[in-house]
């Protein structure tokens, strides 16, 4: 819709709503195939965001920021009107974080599935196969589970067929070549030690270990980014 066509809309509120969703053709080309991570530095590192219709992996040890990155991706997708799901092994979801995500979700809410590790893959298969989900996050951070390659092949095929971004959070890399994009996280906690120690947040260093395309791999010589997650309490 051109600007002249937009002028024909008499109701300024509707015009504002439409213009908020208009993007230039150039931006559209760049964004095609990507989905915003909710973190500008990570978007830049990944060339626009998480790949659509593919698997992506976020790996790192405890307190490296995996959960915060997953939550940011879910919140960004919900804010964009997407339907999202979280397969939460162990039911670790933070109530305050969940409330924050829910606040962004006046419309389609977060589908939250609590399960044990053995049920996680079946659950994510069911959700992705349902179709229509923008982002599906599989939280395997604390799961001690060995999954066969065939499971990832099947999940990748389903994600491709349904156009879903599947984020897999793990403690160590598991997806290998099945992930279209993979990042490894290294975090260091930040304490304010001027007086009695006060935990202020996590400083996270993100390393891109698997590029979305070979071209991007060659263009970017330093595939790292820094993120900071602060404690609001």
């Amino acid at each position: 819709m051109s600007v002249r066509a937009l002028d024909l809309v008499r109701d300024p509120e509707i015009a504002r709503e439409i213009s908020a969703h208009l993007v230039s053709l150039e931006r559209l080309g760049e964004a095609r195939g990507r989905r915003a991570t909710g973190l500008p530095a990570l978007d830049a590192l990944l060339g626009g965001g998480w790949p659509r219709a593919a698997l992506s992996e976020i790996s790192g040890r405890r307190s490296s920021g995996r959960t915060a990155i997953v939550r940011a991706a879910l919140a960004a997708a919900i804010a964009a009107g997407e339907t999202t799901a979280l397969i939460d092994v162990g039911g670790t979801l933070d109530a305050r974080a969940a409330t924050g995500v829910a606040a962004a979700a006046a419309g389609p809410a977060l589908l939250w599935i609590r399960c044990v590790a053995a049920q996680a893959l079946k659950a994510v298969d069911l959700v992705v196969a349902a179709g229509g989900f923008g982002v599906v996050a599989l939280d395997l951070c604390d799961a001690r589970l060995r999954l066969p390659d065939a499971a990832w092949v099947r999940l990748r095929h389903a994600a491709r067929a349904q156009g879903t971004t599947v984020l897999v959070a793990t403690s160590a890399r598991r997806l290998g070549a099945f992930a279209a994009a993979a990042v490894e996280l290294g975090g260091a906690p930040a304490f304010d030690t001027d007086g009695p120690p006060l935990f202020t947040g996590l400083d996270v260093r993100v390393s891109r270990v698997r590029a979305i395309s070979p071209q991007q791999r060659h263009e970017d010589q330093s595939p790292c980014a820094s993120l900071a997650f602060t404690s609001r309490s």
Binding site: R61, S63, A95, P108, K122, G132, G187, T230
Partner: protein
Amino acid sequence: MRLACVYVPQLALQAALRRSPEAREAPSALVAAQGKSKPRVVELCAAARGAGVRPGMTAAQAAAACPGLRLFTATAADAEAGAAALADVGYAFAPRVERDGERIYFAADDLGRLYPDGERTIAQAVQAHAARLGFGARVAIAPGKGSARVATRAHELAVVPAERAAARAFLAPLPISFFTDDGELSAAFRRWGTRTAGAVAALPPSAVALRLGPAGAAVARLSRAEDDEPFLPQLPPDALEEAVELDYPIYEIEPLAFVLRGLCDRALERLAGRSLACAGLTLRLSLDPRGLDVREVPLAAPTREAKTMVELVRLDLARRPPEAAVRGVHLIALPARVRATQLDILRPAGPAPNRLAATLARLGALVGPENVGTPAAVDSWREEAIAMQAYPLGGGAPGTAPGGEPGLCLRHRRPPEEIEVLMERDGPAALRGAETTARVLIAAGPYRLSGEWWRGDPGDPAGTGSWAREYWDVHASDGAVYRLHRDGRSGRFYLDGYYD
């Protein structure tokens, strides 16, 4: 008014055959015991009749007359489920249906919009739907109940004209025995030499009424196509029921699941005919030798998948097995309409409601319905408190972008894990739990919190009573930042989770 009549001859036998559809092609008969006498044949199919089986024979006599005969025992459960399923044939086409034994009646005036090719097409569609529910049915569409009933006796498929003269001509060649169930009345007409409706219609009405009374007069009126029987339709029942009484008690879950699959299939077929899905299940198990086990099986969302329903019931049975062997199963399905949602022109389309509902139900079967939903806030200051609420199937208002910088997340252990903590003067110095043993590098705290003192009785950390805690954020030597607390009353330490 145009009325459709669906007639299922030998409904009790056909109802029994619904649970054994493979026996439909074979000769079959229904036996029932009268008091303490031996069970005798009460209904039989045409193939069995052709082989020499007759009503009143004992089961042994019938089996001797027809070696391949399938014998079914008449049960109240089959009869009730069969009658309800027959009514559902009508509810698939009309909002109200009159039930009358082996027949149902419903208004067919408005069906012309759906089937513009004529009333014969409507009758064929009704017959096809009855076949899907396991009934071999006769269908007629007529201006009134009486003429529709007579037409189903005479024809497999019939359309009685709307004009009275044409309807009278349609009925005229039919035997007068089709017009009444009273054998003496039929015999009286035959003695007069009036064997067809046309002949009876030619008699003076007053003379017939004088000699045969009101019943004879009603037959004479019907033979003249003067159909004045009132149509008394009813709304469908709130719940849909299917039942089976087993020949022998079942002790294990797997054979019971096999029986349940048949019940669910039949219930869903009936619901599908009314464009409905199943929103909840109630199961009544008759135990051996006596007793009843009633259980409600919640569904995360309305579904039309029998596999999902059976899986949920199987999980429920595995969690809480019946106290004795099961000799009868009664399934009550709660119908619900799966509504279409209005999509947003500016937002991506979400999952299709029907598929989402089925997926939620299957997820519920996999992980338990209480573990599928959307997070909900709890009115509590306990950090680990969180609730699950049902996932909304319909779309809502568009979302808004979350503001502010990305926050830190705490990965909770629910319930908090009791750990050992070595305390020094400045705070925790080391911790040891099931998954973690580490030195504490930095400890921030304590942050004292208490709440729910108005509840009175002090409870454990995972309970609902009053609580008082000292929280610590500790950077451990394994690199993680843990959140732990000491219970103010017991002095024990608990690991709440770690920041990530």
